[in-house]
């Protein structure tokens, strides 16, 4: 099999997977049918992250409040590759899946498939959802008809 270099960084995969609803990730991951036996070496566990804001949006940081956060680390049984996952909320399975994908993506032969068959389509549906939301917002944009336009 020809080895395609991995096009996405672990942080990029993490981002797409964390922004994807868990059910969609689970379904897509199952379609890949990568047989990876693994065990959890940390978690999955839930805790909190302190969310920080900035005064005026650009100034000094301040503590806004906390959010729930789950994380997991897994190791593949075959080659002991470690994977890590973090996700907002309390869904342990979601964190575990992200960690599992991260571990599997360390195998060059799997990385390309993961990027092309999992991350790319999920990134596309994410972008699609965001586009739709943005168009919904755009429909509420005010058109000032008293505005003088052109010359």
């Amino acid at each position: 099999m020809k080895q395609t270099p991995s096009r996405r960084t672990p942080a990029e995969r993490q981002r797409v997977l964390a922004l994807t609803p868990r059910e969609r990730l689970e379904a897509r991951w199952a379609e890949l049918a990568l047989a990876a036996d693994y065990r959890c070496v940390r978690g999955p566990e839930t805790g909190m992250a302190m969310v920080r804001g900035r005064m005026g949006g650009t100034g000094n940081a301040f503590n806004l409040g906390e959010m729930t956060l789950s994380r997991a680390s897994v190791a593949l049984d075959d080659d002991e590759a470690m994977g890590h996952g973090w996700v907002a909320g309390r869904d342990h399975r979601h964190a575990e899946l992200i960690a599992l994908v991260d571990a599997c993506a360390q195998r060059p032969d799997w990385a390309a498939r993961i990027d092309v068959e999992l991350i790319d389509p999920l990134a596309a549906s994410l972008a699609e959802g965001r586009e739709a939301a943005s168009r919904t917002a755009a429909a509420t944009r005010v058109d000032f008809f008293t505005l003088v336009r052109g010359e």
């Binding site: 839930t46 805790g47 804001g53 917002a137």
Partner: protein, 372 residues
């Protein structure tokens, strides 16, 4: 002598059982699900998250269900749950400039890059009860424009090339965290913002309103209000770059207020800032008003209104603390009250004794003030 009194276990158990029944309502009606609360009472959910200071819509909806819709009780439940979780990380400060806005308006500049975007607002509704809501009707899908929104940059950063508005610049200071160390007055602005962000909306609204009515007047304009989703990132050992956890919805208010300035600095508009979890526009606006009012001392303004008095404002803003201390009055105070009764009886005996001997003698020293 102190005698401990026990009792009431059965009464308490039965009271809670009755409460559960009351919460459930009529058994022939469908039970409300946490999903429905999160989906259809989402503004209540957002308020609970903001004031509990914990972003988790499902838990906030659960708290609302458990509290039968009592917002202050729900805030208390979620705040209490918060104490059971470990702190795993601090986030990179959220970049509200990169927010995926669903609403973004300015009351100070009409023509702004990205435009005035109303979003799903109650503004401009007529506040007439909609009796259609009593019937189960179809709700149409929202309208969609052909094109997505253009970029909506932060207006105050963009449209002020004359330097008329105070700039907010990061000097890298690490923020104080009231969840780790209790606030020690006087407190800095980062601490004030953290306390205001979890403050009771009604309380902050009243204080913000008071500044508009003249108690610490600072003439505000809503420079920009934006609501939408921001991505949240944390720094972890396992990665070089920060990792994205997901998105949260925030409401941000940039208030522009009347001038500060000194012999050295030219007059400038000053600013107040509000940021809140969820769709919490009123809270964000109230927070920005109170934030600005609390900057009075820093900006060399006379402290005249209640909203400008930091310790008073901040020490009473938290509904969990406030309702806790008020509610504790319901707990048995039988012994305290007994001692007050004893004291009062003694004072009255002394009073009678003084009056019986009074007609000839001049007034003696007044009775001592009762000690609490």
């Amino acid at each position: 002598m102190y005698v401990a009194v026990k009792g009431g276990e059965q009464a308490i158990a039965n009271a809670h059982r009755w409460l559960a029944d009351r919460r459930r309502g009529e058994r022939d009606r469908p039970e409300l699900s946490v999903d429905q609360i999160a989906g259809q009472l989402n503004l209540a959910v957002d308020r609970v998250m903001a004031e509990a200071s914990l972003y988790d819509p499902e838990l906030a909806a659960l708290a609302l269900k458990q509290a039968s819709g009592d917002l202050v009780e729900a805030v208390f439940l979620l705040r209490a749950y918060r104490t059971t979780l470990p702190r795993l990380a601090e986030t990179v400060p959220v970049d509200t400039d990169a927010m995926r806005v669903e609403r973004r308006i300015s009351a100070t500049y009409k023509d702004i890059p990205g435009g005035q975007v109303l979003g799903p607002t109650y503004d401009y509704t007529h506040r007439l009860l909609d009796f259609m809501q009593l019937a189960e009707g179809e709700t149409p899908e929202p309208a969609r424009a052909e094109q997505a929104l253009e970029a909506c940059p932060q207006i105050l950063e963009l449209l002020d090339d004359e330097g008329l508005v105070e700039r907010e610049v990061d000097d890298g200071a690490a923020p104080y965290d009231i969840t780790r160390d209790p606030p020690d007055f006087p407190v800095d602005r980062a601490t004030r913002l953290q306390m205001l962000a979890r403050g009771d909306e009604g309380y902050l609204l009243a204080l913000g309103y008071s500044t508009q009515r003249g108690y610490g007047r600072n003439h505000p304009f809503a420079g920009e209000i934006r609501i939408g989703a921001v991505e949240v990132e944390i720094v972890v050992e396992e990665r070089e770059a920060p990792v994205c956890l997901g998105e949260i919805t925030l409401s941000e208010c940039q208030m522009i207020n009347q001038f500060g300035g000194s012999r050295e600095a030219a007059p400038q508009f000053t600013r107040g800032y509000g940021l809140a979890f969820g769709r919490n526009e009123r809270k964000g606006m109230a927070m920005a008003l109170v934030d600005r009012a609390l900057r009075a001392e820093e900006l060399g303004e006379p402290v005249q209104g209640p909203a400008q008095q930091a310790e008073f404002v901040l020490a009473h803003a938290d509904s969990v603390e406030a309702s806790g201390f008020v509610s504790h009055l319901k707990l048995p105070h039988y012994v305290d009250f007994q001692s007050e009764l004893e004291l009062l009886r003694r004072l009255r005996r002394d009073h009678v004794a003084r009056h019986e001997s009074a007609p000839s003698a001049p007034a003696e020293t007044p009775a001592e003030e009762p000690q609490a």
